[in-house]
């Protein structure tokens, strides 16, 4: 009984942590961009205000039950993924379901949300939504491949497919995997640029092209839930990368530092980049990242 309680409370704590960190990172993103553009920028807690406002909007309009469930799919995916990602290397509170799944599962779980969202977006009937979805899915095909190559390289190198296993490897050897297999890290980081969908890969929600794409018909609490999910999901991705490449984090401070350092890569890359076209985005991932992935696997295998 006690364990279940700890489990549930731990899960809630994890979600809260992910939400808060994710939100702050979102704010930080905006702030960093503003500072680079020589603006003051919104306060760092601006995203909280936005989300709260969106939840407090009165009407919410949907075009059908799938749209209603779209954000639910998204948040399901991000929270479930969160449950399977080790947050801290020790301690029971944040362990959740770490040992029930592995990397392959996580890769799939991370797709779940976007597809569910895409269904919701599809039902709105807005052409922009569908265009955004097609762009997003196409881009996903692009970045998943180098990402998976990096993962496969690590898995074959260390003979484990679970994240906890990878953390254990790093703790034993004392070297972060980003140094053990730098090529895999390169491929994965370049794939991460696509995963975060910040510029130059913000082709999905490109406001000026497809008027924010899939979410163009989502307002109010739907949008709020999506923002929540997005924040959690950003945290999941960062925590995953930290776990795999940077040896995990033993406490929250380290975690925040490591994740923030990682987070700045797509943010800073995005600030100075204009937007790609979709096929350019896909082929971007199929050039250098793919090459690094190949090298990584060769490096791992031999």
């Amino acid at each position: 009984m006690n364990t279940i309680l700890i489990q549930i409370l731990g899960a809630l704590a994890t979600i809260l942590l992910a939400f808060i960190v994710g939100m702050f990172y979102g704010g930080a993103h905006r702030k960093v961009i503003a500072r680079i553009q020589n603006r003051v920028g919104p306060p760092i807690y601006q995203n909280f205000i936005d989300v709260l406002k969106l939840y407090s909007k009165e009407t919410s309009i949907n075009h059908g039950v799938m749209q209603h469930m779209g954000p639910v799919f998204a948040i399901t995916a991000s929270i479930t993924s969160l449950m399977f990602v080790p947050i801290l290397t020790d301690g029971n509170w944040f362990s959740n379901l770490n040992f029930s799944g592995d990397l392959v599962f996580l890769v799939y779980m991370m797709v779940f949300g976007s597809l569910g969202m895409a269904l919701g977006a599809g039902q709105t009937g807005n052409p922009n939504s569908a265009i955004g979805v097609t762009r997003g899915l196409s881009q996903m095909v692009g970045y998943e491949i180098p990402f998976v190559m990096a993962m496969v390289a690590l898995m074959t190198q260390f003979h484990t497919t679970s994240i906890t296993g990878m953390i254990a490897v790093q703790q034993q050897s004392g070297t972060w995997l980003m140094f053990s297999n730098p090529f895999a890290f390169m491929a994965a980081i370049m794939a991460m640029l696509g995963m975060f969908s910040y510029a130059p890969f913000d082709i999905v929600t490109a406001p000026a092209e497809v008027s924010s794409g899939p979410i163009s018909e989502f307002g109010g609490k739907y949008l709020g839930m999506m923002m929540t999910s997005g924040s959690i999901f950003a945290f999941v991705k960062l925590a995953l990368f930290v776990d795999i490449f940077m040896g995990g984090a033993s406490n929250l401070v380290v975690l925040v530092i490591k994740t923030f350092a990682l987070y700045m890569i797509p943010v800073l890359y995005g600030v100075i980049s204009p937007r790609y076209r979709t096929e350019q985005a896909i082929t971007y991932f199929w050039k250098w990242p793919l090459f690094f992935g190949f090298i990584a696997i060769l490096y791992a295998a031999f």
Binding site: T59, S60, I61, N62, H63, G64, V65, M66, M69, P71, V72, F73, T76, I79, T80, L97, S100, G101, D102, V104, F105, Y108, M109, V111, F112, L115, A118, L119, G122, Q123, G125, N126, P127, N128, A130, I131, T134, L137, S138, V141, G142, I145, V148, V152, A153, T156, H159, T160, T161, S162, G165, S211, S216, E217, T278, E279, I282, G293, I297, A301
Partner: protein, 616 residues
């Protein structure tokens, strides 16, 4: 009478009787075929796997009987067959030549059962050919573009079947027996060159039916143009006969030293699945999309079988079972749409979700299973496949599979969006949900997809015994790779499916409750015409749904791969052959005197050559 013979007599006799019945009492036809199929299913399930029947034909010893491997596939066949026939009764209503249709339908199911019960190569081939032509007759049932489409199917089937036949007779010439057990026992005693040739020839034969890469060109049109009730069986069960054959060949006829064959097969299958997925992505017709998707999915199955690892083979067989379940559901759903709306061209239809909600539910579940997303069964198969490939060191193969299954998300979404989502059109306002006899088979199969996601053990158990009876030799210890709800890989990593399911369903329900309960008073449904489009006012008759060139950017990115289809090479080859044949034809130039001169010339040649070569 032996129940095996009874089974076949019931099937084939019933098929002929259905044809005759249709001539005289068409009203009873539907009831008859469904009852027949149910009876055969009952008989099949009561037959069991211990029954063996030995007899001689023309001095060739033959043996019939199910093994647990073929029984597994047999279950697919009878279950899908029964459900598809139930589905057919509504789907085919009002079409002509129904006697012809049902006769060939039952023929092909009977032939599939025959293939599965064959324990020798000759009866295997015998039923294989019956299956080929009976399915061919259904492929050309609709009658459009028969010359290209039907012939393509028949030519490739014939090439496949005849290379099988070639392998069979060569095997016999070495071993002196057609019995599978004899062949398997003594195949490695013959020369390794012949042994490889035999394996390759057999695999060409099975590869055609399972639509492997260079031999797949018949499949898209054949799948998409047959009546959907048959395509469900065609793609679900009939193509699995190829998989069945592949399993037989790979586990028994390819020695473990010849890892290269396994590797080549796996790579071909991987290329198949990637390219077929890409083609599926750029289709705009739901049926063709599913057809290409079938090709791709069978690619996974064969990769699994060829991976030569315990987990991989298990994954392959699991995917085979599951593909039969979800792909036939999808074909049935598309058939339902076709019947209710009249077209499957996704550029023409949209927004059927509120018109055909149950069809949508079945499609959604099957698509989730197809895409391999947790928590449905497809994920289980995919997971096992990936883990098997990764743990056995097929690094680049797993990338191909990943590429293919990621691209599969594209068409998975396309088919859901294309038919059910998007704007609701007034022209489809009259569309009704499919009749119950079409819905029930779909929903039953969807239920299996759902169940297999959290409790794959129910399916993995028969698969494990099937693997044993296929003769799969694992170089790893035979420990259990699964529990009822948990999967393991070789390295001890696992995925606990119940936890996954609990997590997903729990979060989903809580979030759904949250979003529904909060402010539900102000929640409003608006029509799909009320969308933000820069203030433009969309009239009900305007269709704003984005359907044409759906994945154009993706298509542009992969265009170098798709520029020239394999089909084109075949077409060029065929044209070249025809020109050659026309040239040969000129030999008979119509002048009788020339024929006489040929005779004289031939005689002179013979007399000259005869003194030189024939020792006179």
């Amino acid at each position: 009478m032996n129940s095996l013979i009874l089974l076949l007599i019931l099937m084939f006799g019933g098929a002929l009787f259905a044809f005759i019945l249709n001539k005289f009492v068409p009203a009873l036809r539907d009831i008859f075929v469904v009852l027949l199929m149910l009876g055969v299913s009952y008989l099949f399930f009561s037959t069991g796997i211990s029954n063996r029947l030995n007899f001689d034909v023309l001095g060739i010893h033959m043996q019939w009987g199910f093994t647990s491997a073929s029984y597994l596939f047999g279950i697919i066949v009878v279950v899908l067959g029964s459900l598809a026939l139930i589905y057919s009764t509504a789907y085919m209503k009002g079409k002509d030549r129904l006697g012809y249709f049902y006769m060939n339908f039952l023929f092909s199911i009977g032939a599939m059962l025959g293939i599965l019960m064959s324990r020798d190569l000759i009866s295997l081939f015998f039923f294989w050919e019956i299956m080929t032509w009976s399915s061919y007759f259904i492929v050309i049932y609709s009658g459009n573009d028969v010359d290209r489409r039907g012939l393509k199917y028949m030519i490739f089937s014939a090439i496949g079947a005849y290379s099988m036949l070639m392998a069979i007779v060569i095997v016999n010439s070495f071993i002196g027996s057609f019995l599978l057990e004899d062949v398997f026992a003594s195949i490695f005693a013959i020369g390794s060159g012949y042994q490889i040739a035999i394996a390759i020839l057999l695999m060409i034969g099975f590869g055609v039916k399972s639509a492997m890469m260079p031999l797949h060109v018949w499949a898209p049109r054949a799948y998409s143009e047959s009546p959907m009730s048959y395509t469900a069986v065609f793609s679900g069960a009939l193509s699995k006969m190829g998989v069945f054959g592949f399993a037989l060949v790979l586990f028994n006829l390819v020695s473990t030293q010849n890892w290269l064959i396994n590797e080549v097969v796996a790579w071909l299958a991987a290329i198949t699945s990637v390219l077929a997925t890409f083609y599926a992505v750029i289709q705009s017709d739901a049926k063709k999309l599913l057809a290409y998707s079938s090709i791709a999915q069978i690619g996974y199955i064969i990769i699994g079988l060829a991976s030569n690892t315990y987990l991989g083979v298990m994954a392959g067989l699991f995917l085979a079972v599951l593909h039969a379940v979800f792909k036939s559901t999808l074909f049935m759903a598309v058939g339902a749409v076709e019947r209710q709306v009249g077209t499957t061209d996704m550029t023409k239809i949209s927004g059927l979700i509120r018109r055909m909600p149950w069809t949508f539910v079945a499609t959604l579940i099957s698509i989730i299973a197809l895409a391999g997303l947790p928590p449905l069964g497809g994920f289980v198969g995919k997971w096992m496949l990936y883990e098997a490939l990764i743990t056995s060191g097929h690094y680049y193969l797993v990338i191909m599979v990943f590429l293919s299954s990621t691209a599969a998300f594209l068409y998975s979404y396309r088919i859901l969006f294309g038919m059910f989502l998007g704007q609701e059109e007034p022209e489809f306002a009259h569309v009704k949900e499919a009749p119950l006899s079409m819905l029930i088979p779909m929903l039953i199969l969807s239920g299996i997809s759902v169940l297999s996601g959290s409790h794959p053990g129910f399916i993995l158990e028969p698969i494990q015994s099937a693997m044993a009876s296929f003769g799969f030799q694992s170089n790893l210890p035979h420990e259990s790779w699964w529990e009822l709800t948990v999967l393991f890989n070789t390295w001890g990593d696992k995925v606990a499916l119940v936890n996954v399911l609990t997590s997903i369903v729990g979060v989903f329900l809580i979030a759904l409750a949250f979003i529904t309960i909060k402010g539900y008073k102000n929640q409003r449904y608006v029509t799909t015409k009320d969308i933000s489009s820069s203030g433009e006012i969309i009239q009900p008759e305007d269709n704003m749904t984005f359907q044409i060139d759906f994945y154009k950017p993706f298509e542009r990115a992969i265009w170098p791969l798709l520029k020239r289809k394999i089909d084109d090479y075949y077409t060029d080859f065929g044209k070249g052959l025809e020109a050659l044949f026309d040239f040969v034809r000129r030999f008979y130039n119509g002048n009788g005197q020339f024929y006489a001169i040929y005779v004289m010339a031939f005689l002179a040649l013979l007399l000259i050559a005869g003194t030189k070569y024939f020792g006179f």
